[in-house]
Chain length 145, copies 2
DNA sequence: TATATAATTGAGACTGATTCTCAATATCAT
DNA sequence: ATGATATTGAGAATCAGTCTCAATTATATA
């Protein structure tokens, strides 16, 4: 049986005349099962551990596909590395990122979102997405120094 | 006569046992005179147009120095490119970045800042800096399609 | 089911940004 | 002026991500 996200993904592919492939499904699977943000390199490495092989290019291509379709979000660590998470049944949220251990806490705040809307409107700016990341030290890392 | 920022920069260098060099001063100058965000490549290119030469490595090294000292801030365009701006006598602000033309609008909002503080406190997270970027289409680019 | 068409793939070359290495040079306290 | 030490630029190295292209695979339709 196919999971709901896979069905939705197939619909997207069909609607764009794109094909359903093993690689695309594997990457979506990986993302759905991951408990935290994963890097393209994580996906490449782990999927190649198992069966056959999957190219780096395909990993990037598929992540872009998922991102553009609104099925995945990316965050960027303090050193610039990118990581992705799926968005199925996960409401929008922003992140607090530990500069020591790269752990990520999620937050969301309706007031901030509303103010963003107002500011955009005032500047006649049409917002498409935003990134709100607070960098600092998590509870654990803060204790250690 | 030395500008205030240069004096402050020299103090920083002295306090860390670092040396005041022509290259460091030139880069700070460039940043101070720039009207908008500049990329490391802008700095490298323009400073080499004039006298002598300055290495790319030095540009990056100096930008990191300025950034860590809190004298410069960086933003990242939608395609990942980095750009810097100086922070002398410029209050904190965040950005709206046009995904079409990379133009940048600034905004700041005390309520958002305050909420961030509260959220951090709640999670025992010690905030060091944050990045709040709204990506979208500026007034001009929005009209064109 | 076989076939035709078009999308997809992985390998590896390529790119652009940034970092590293190291010998030559410049700064600064004395 | 001198010596100790930090800084420099050139170019090699690295790294993430993109591109190219010939071989492969998915899918619509006969």
């Amino acid at each position: 049986m196919k999971s709901e996200p896979h069905k939705v993904f197939e619909q997207l592919l069909n609607s764009k005349g794109l094909k359903v492939t093993k690689q695309r499904n594997d990457i979506l699977d990986y993302l759905l099962k991951a408990k935290k943000h994963v890097t393209p390199e994580d996906i490449y490495r782990d999927l190649n551990k198992k069966d056959a092989n999957i190219g780096r290019a395909t990993v990037f291509r598929t992540l872009h596909l998922l991102e553009n379709a609104g099925f995945a979000d990316k965050i960027q660590f303090a050193d610039g590395r990118l990581a992705y998470e799926h968005k199925f049944a996960r409401p929008h949220h922003d992140h607090m990122i530990c500069v020591e251990c790269s752990s990520v806490l999620e937050f969301s705040n309706a007031t901030i979102e509303k103010i963003q809307e107002e500011i955009s409107k005032k500047f006649m700016f049409k917002p498409l997405w935003h990134r709100h990341e607070i960098f600092g030290r998590c509870k654990k890392c803060n204790k250690m120094d």
